[in-house]
Amino acid sequence: MKRVLTLVMALCLGTAVQATEVMKLAVTTSFHNSGLADILVPQIKADLDLEVQLLVVGTGQALKLGRSGDVDAILVHSKAAEERFVAEGFAPHRREIMYNDFVVIGPVADPAGAQGATSARQALQLIAANRADFVSRGDDSGTHKKEQQLWRDAGLDPQGFDGWYKPVGAGMGAALNTAAGLGAYVLADRASWLNFGNRGGLALLFSGDPVLFNQYAFLPVDAGRHPHVQSALAMQLEGWLTSDRAKALINGYEINGETLFTFNAAPKVQ
């Protein structure tokens, strides 16, 4: 009995031993799926001796984690929600880091003719007009919010859509898997698309409209609200993410010869 208890203690304690400098950063699925994190995180560890633990969630959950103080900082892409987050006092500021873009993915046959569209607005109108199957993230993520905004910009209300519009309530990868299975259209970030392994009959049909740009921002959680957060480490990380070092890595990151991200951090806090 004693031996068993010792074993239990050892196992439980064993889990508590960690490196000295550790912080938690909530990031969006789309950022993580891009693979850029696998380049940045080891470099941060090497440069700052800081282990950044990534919690890969949707923007909605990332903001929630920040609100509860369960992470030290967040890196997301939903400007309106981020500004509300700062206004409510959960973060001292919002720092833009980089952007990538969203793309419209759909079946190679392109029954709605989205490929010929001249704007994102027109591409979506064509899909709606043809009632072609469309998979929506439906998970309150940054990508989902962006998609909702785009529909509204196109003069359409997603609430009123019927059968062809399918909110799956899942991450980007799962949504792409579903779209591949259904032969449906889907809005994805370019990084997730390029890294996606199960394309099936899907292809990139439309991209390039500036409204599709996707701005990532870094928000440290306010230590005034949650005294236990690692503010100093978050500051250090922010400094690194806006440095020339990060700029070179971000701008230089490519998949299949395509650049994904554009570094656009302002030199100092806005």
Binding site: K24, Q53, L54, R67, A174, N177, G197, N198
Partner: protein, 234 residues
């Protein structure tokens, strides 16, 4: 079909090359689930014995609740543990969220009802057999429980293995409370979910095959131990 074949070959490749990352997440899977199993057994087995020997007013209700909790969706457990352990939650000061300890807690909650229910079934049968004898010997409640637990140990092993199977294959709860953090809380099942999300079906399947192999190996090892024990005692 292509993916399954690819998954199998990739699984074999990962194992023979002793892939460092695979080793790490496999060991963490084992560490979390074995810890959860030990803690859960220490709770569930005495509870099952108590429910077998003690008649009290709410006994049937407790058993019914335990049976019902066997079907508890792990995601719900994860969410509850998450809310409790969150910095803004009642146990936030412990700072346990997104740690293996949090995953162990969630798994314990998931498998205690399962282990207790299965254990209770065999202990109840054994108690019917032993009842008259132990009563006639004026055995105390504690001794009754200890006797049942010891003599039903082989059936209890089955209960424990069922609990272990559910723990190591579980993903919903530990994803929520562990966060699937690379090098910290990533285990086989959460890695599988991640790779599936990326559309990397072959790698996801490979990890799945490793998980199955691991579960089979553990089961065989424990049954083998159980058999040597039987030969030794009798």
């Amino acid at each position: 079909m292509n993916d399954i074949w690819g998954g199998l070959t990739q699984a074999v490749w990962l194992v023979v090359t002793l892939d460092a990352e695979l080793l790490e997440i496999s060991l963490r899977s084992l560490q979390v689930s074995v810890s959860a199993l030990i803690v859960a057994s220490l709770i569930a087995m005495p509870l099952a014995a108590f429910l077998s020997v003690k008649r009290f007013r709410m006994r049937r209700a407790v058993i019914a609740v335990l049976n019902a909790l066997m079907g508890l969706p792990p995601v719900v457990v994860g969410l509850v543990v998450y809310v409790l352990l969150s910095r803004s939650g009642p146990l936030g000061v412990l700072g346990l969220l997104f740690s293996p300890t949090a995953m162990i807690i969630a798994q314990v909650i998931i498998i205690v009802p399962l282990i207790a229910s299965i254990a209770h079934q065999s202990l109840r049968d054994l108690w019917q057999e032993y009842h008259d004898l132990l009563i006639s010997m004026n055995v105390t409640q504690r001794q009754k429980m200890a006797t049942l637990l010891w003599d039903a140990r082989r059936a209890l092993l089955t209960a424990a293995l069922a609990g272990f199977g559910r723990a190591i294959g579980e993903v919903g709860a530990i994803m929520v409370v562990g966060g699937n953090i690379d090098h910290a809380t990533r285990v086989l099942t959460t890695a599988i979910a991640l790779e599936t999300g990326k559309g990397e079906f072959a790698l996801a399947l490979a990890l799945g095959f490793v998980l199955i192999a691991l579960a089979i190996a553990i089961n065989l090892a424990i049954h083998w131990l159980g058999r040597t024990e039987r030969e030794g005692a009798w």
